[in-house]
């Protein structure tokens, strides 16, 4: 009885964090029913996750941009343009692939630095900078693809980034063994870290949930990781896209949670004036956040080009809006200072699940847009309402 009471209070208190998971659950469960289980089939889940990679990395970068109270609308066509640049470098030069990737990423970072300087140093509204960038990179994309049209990328290695899977050793028939191994390691790492955190909190007399709740949480998350791993392992295993997304999320999660830089980013987002007076160089933080955003846009462009095995003239259209939507659905606050990269990934997953599920059900594209728009509004309403409830009091 006590267990459920505590569970209830914890859920209530952290409704903003758990709300998204619950929404994701509901959406997956609903589609699973409506499609007679096809939605949760290994093949579909694998496709769903792999096809959201290029939005997921953008959502991660966008999270930080929104946290510091800005927005970046240029990332969609920047991704398209840099994807085309990658394709051109691969088809027309003999540069080794790693060098091409590094060059494109650096180019992205450079563009972002310029954006950051325009926003922070020259005080131009980020919305305007983004809008200008959007037009410029759209034009640039058309320009570099003007003679050839769609650029087909022949490099098998490059195309593996968006379509390939990690290699396997054939031990367990019917399963991708290495994927299962990675999943098991992830669960072990998660459990160990949670136990360590809990012990630290006990040492400092911080409030902690009771042991049964703690164990229940460990079991639940472990089950989730295990379940997803198993589904993926029943198909082709972990894709390189997922590996890349996981690496990006891990790095950003670490930066935002553990580093001085991360603290500064949230401080600037929470109160720029107080941050500046505390000795934080707000301009520098802004440069970093915009540079990181555009670098991730470059990565997004590479993932997308690789997935299509070609650079198209319309690549990148509306990516920025999908990324922004994912961030908002994932609990990032437009007021600044609030939002987690892991939340945005869940947000991206929610949006991708909607698309995938509705495709399976044969819902027309016109309705799909309307429904996704509706979900976005609902997510933000939910966010605002839970926020107001806890802002109550003094």
């Amino acid at each position: 009885m006590n267990f459920f009471n505590e569970l209830k209070t914890i859920l209530k208190k952290n409704i903003r964090t758990y709300g998204m998971f619950i929404a994701l659950f509901v959406i997956m469960f609903t589609f699973s029913l409506l499609t007679n289980g096809v939605f949760m089939s290994p093949r579909n889940i694998s496709n769903l996750i792999n096809s959201m990679g290029y939005i997921a990395v953008l959502a991660v970068g966008m999270t930080l941009v929104i946290v510091i109270r800005h927005i970046d609308l240029s990332v969609g066509f920047l991704a398209g343009f840099l994807g085309a640049v990658a394709a051109i470098l691969i088809t027309r030069t003999n540069l080794p692939l790693p060098l091409v990737i590094v060059a494109v990423l650096l180019l992205g970072g450079l563009v972002g630095l310029v954006n950051g300087i325009l926003v922070a140093r020259l005080n131009i509204p980020a919305f305007v900078v983004g809008l200008a960038g959007m037009m410029i990179f759209r034009g640039a994309l058309l320009q570099v693809t003007s003679r050839t049209g769609t650029i087909i990328v022949p490099s098998r290695q490059f195309n593996a980034i968006g379509n390939g899977f990690i290699p396997d050793i054939n031990i367990l028939p019917g399963y991708h063994f290495v994927t299962l191994l990675v999943g098991a390691l992830a669960i072990a790492a998660f459990v160990l870290m949670e136990i360590r955190n809990r012990n630290t909190k006990i040492r400092y007399n911080f409030e902690i949930p009771s042991l049964p709740i703690f164990v229940a949480k460990l079991l639940f998350i472990s089950f989730l990781i295990g379940y997803v791993t198993r589904i993926l392992a029943m198909y082709n295993g972990l894709s390189w896209t997922v590996v890349i997304v996981l690496i990006v999320v891990t790095i950003y999660h670490f930066i935002t949670n553990r580093t001085v830089l991360g603290r500064y980013i949230y401080a600037v987002g929470g109160n720029p004036e107080a941050a500046a007076l505390s000795g934080i160089d707000v301009n520098k933080i802004t440069y970093f956040v915009f540079a990181s955003m555009s670098m991730l846009a470059a990565l997004s462009g590479i993932l997308y080009t690789s997935r299509l095995q070609s650079a198209t003239t319309t690549a990148g259209t509306l990516f920025e809006l999908d990324a922004i939507a994912a961030a908002y659905v994932g609990g990032v606050s437009a007021a600044g200072g609030v939002g987690k990269v892991t939340g945005s990934i869940i947000g991206a997953l929610v949006m991708a699940s909607l698309t995938s599920g509705m495709n399976l059900m044969g819902v027309g594209i016109s309705y799909q847009y309307m429904i996704r728009g509706g979900i976005l509004v609902i997510a933000v309403i939910f966010d605002v309402m839970t926020r107001n409830r806890f802002a109550g009091g003094h």
């Binding site: 830089l261 949230y266 401080a267 929470g270 109160n271 107080a274 000795g279 934080i280 200072g337 003094h394």
Partner: protein
């Protein structure tokens, strides 16, 4: 005022009001009665429940979200919105003024209930009516000037004029003089008395006990969400001692704790021919300032609001507002220039801002993060924060400054003003400063917390720090400082030893 013909002597009765927030009983069966035509002061420490009570009354917390009854002129009221209470004749003027700076005075006064004919706003009529309302609050300004061009005191009067444009008979002022200088405060008090003569009932929330004593007919004291007592001025019950005893729950004999006299040390900071021009405002804000700060002394900086005291602090502290500065700054005899707050911090300067909510704290973050922010590098290695060290540090400052918080993970916006201020001070002490600039260190905090802040200041002085204290509260300046500089219109108009200073003398210099 035709309602005066009714029976009940009370214009307002709030009976057994209980309001709960998750985990907290903010109001516990509060009873509050206001007689028609009186000036009624509501006092209590921060977090006692005064603001919550006024939010219940005004409909910010709608009927049904609390228990108990609100009676206006003897009849039960159910307010669901602030509009409902306005319709019933209640107007509240909050501490944070709700005027729009870019609009003119008349536009502000009639904002939300414009005078219109056939759907079009009648601006001529609006201006004429605004003029009449301004006359009623004794404010002599052209209604066509923009609100941003008026000082805080005048803006307050515009707010009151705005309230009167809505036909009210109960005026509630939430700490109206918190941001006002003595002259403006005096004016406001006069106005309230004159309005009383016209039959307007006022409720005033205030921390300034002298003011309360001067003006109140009745004082209700609230503590920990409960009504403690109602004191009658006519019966001589309203005294400083009585107020403090009831607010704090114990007697405080001296508001200003004594500090052991100290030998004046070396000069730690000196400013010579200091001028600053604010390009944003397009005017010169500091003119030929010269001042010195010795080790182990409290230097008070007095003056009227807008005299340039906060601007001086900003100009010294790495100039984050990008003034154009000329002049010399010396620390320990060395000429220094700070291009950013970070450089000032590294040199041993710390600045606790005037407005802790806007410029001091990150309200959405927790106590721990706020305490560590200004010196996070000390708690980190290769850019990674060592959270164990951080928690230890936070615990240390929490204990040293007796910060009352349920946990270090508490969001700072939920703490009382006094505790927020202690966190602000703790945050800066963690940078291990040699000179601490305190800008209005006790603004908006209650008597008990003030005493604690003063005690902390004394402790720091004993440890060899120097303090520059900017303050608009003269008793505070006179009692806490060793030496006082008076600033008027960007100039230092006088330097007085605290022992020889009087309120009159400082006011004289401040208005030079």
């Amino acid at each position: 005022m035709d309602k005066t013909t009714q029976q009940s002597p009370y214009i307002l009765e709030m009976k057994d009001i209980t309001k709960e927030f998750p985990g907290v009983k903010a109001l516990d069966k509060v009873n509050f009665r206001v007689k028609r035509g009186e000036i009624h002061c509501l006092v209590g420490e921060n977090g006692a429940g005064k603001s919550t009570l006024m939010k219940v009354l005004s409909g910010v917390w709608p009927h049904g979200s609390y228990s108990g009854d609100i009676l206006l002129n003897g009849s039960v009221q159910t307010f669901y919105h602030t509009q409902d209470s306005e319709k019933a004749g209640i107007a509240i003027i909050y501490q944070e003024l709700a005027l729009i700076p870019e609009l003119s005075v008349y536009e502000n006064i009639f904002l939300g209930h414009e005078i219109h004919k056939r759907g079009l706003v009648d601006w001529n009529e609006t201006i004429i009516k605004s003029g009449e309302l301004l006359e009623r609050v004794r404010l002599k300004v052209n209604p066509e000037v923009k609100v941003k061009e008026l000082g805080v005191g005048k803006q307050q009067l515009v707010e009151i004029a705005k309230a009167f444009s809505k036909n009210i008979d109960l005026l509630i002022l939430d700490e109206p003089t918190a941001a006002l200088n003595d002259d403006d405060s005096e004016n406001l008090m006069m106005l309230l008395k004159e309005l009383k003569a016209e039959g307007i009932t006022s409720i005033m929330i205030s921390h300034k006990l002298r003011e309360v004593i001067k003006i109140a007919d009745t004082v209700t004291v609230i503590r920990d969400g409960q009504t403690i007592c109602s004191l009658d001025a006519a019966a001589g019950e309203v005294t400083e001692q009585a107020l403090i005893r009831n607010m704090v729950g114990r007697a405080i004999h001296d508001i200003f704790p004594k500090r052991a006299p100290k030998e004046r040390g070396e000069v730690v900071l000196e400013v010579k021919n200091w001028n600053a021009y604010d390009p944003a405002a397009g005017r010169s804000i500091l003119k030929e300032m010269n001042l010195k700060v010795h080790k182990g002394e409290v230097v008070g900086v007095a003056g009227l609001i807008g005299a340039g005291r906060t601007e001086l602090a900003y100009s010294l502290f790495g100039n984050p507002r990008h003034y154009q500065i000329s002049g010399q700054l010396f620390m320990y005899g060395q000429a220094v220039t700070f291009r950013q707050p970070r450089e000032a911090i590294q040199a041993g300067l710390a600045y606790v801002t005037e407005d802790r909510k806007r410029e001091g704290l990150i309200l959405i973050q927790d106590v721990k993060n706020n305490l560590s922010l200004a010196n996070l590098k000390k708690l980190s290695r290769r850019g990674v924060v060592n959270e164990n060290d951080e928690i230890n540090t936070a615990v240390q400052y929490k204990n040293a400054l007796t910060i009352k918080t349920p946990s270090l993970e508490q969001t700072i916006g939920n703490l009382s003003g006094g505790n927020q201020q202690k966190v602000s001070i703790g945050k800066w002490l963690f940078t291990e400063p040699k000179i601490l600039i305190l800008d209005e260190p006790t603004r908006g905090i209650d008597v008990g917390a003030k005493y604690e802040i003063y005690t902390i200041m004394n402790k720091l002085i004993d440890q060899g720090l120097s303090i520059i204290m900017i303050s608009s509260e003269l008793p505070e300046v006179l009692s806490m400082s060793d030496r006082i500089y008076v600033v008027s219109e960007g100039r230092i108009t006088g330097e007085v030893n605290a022992a020889e200073a009087t309120q009159d003398k400082i006011m004289e210099l401040a208005t030079m």
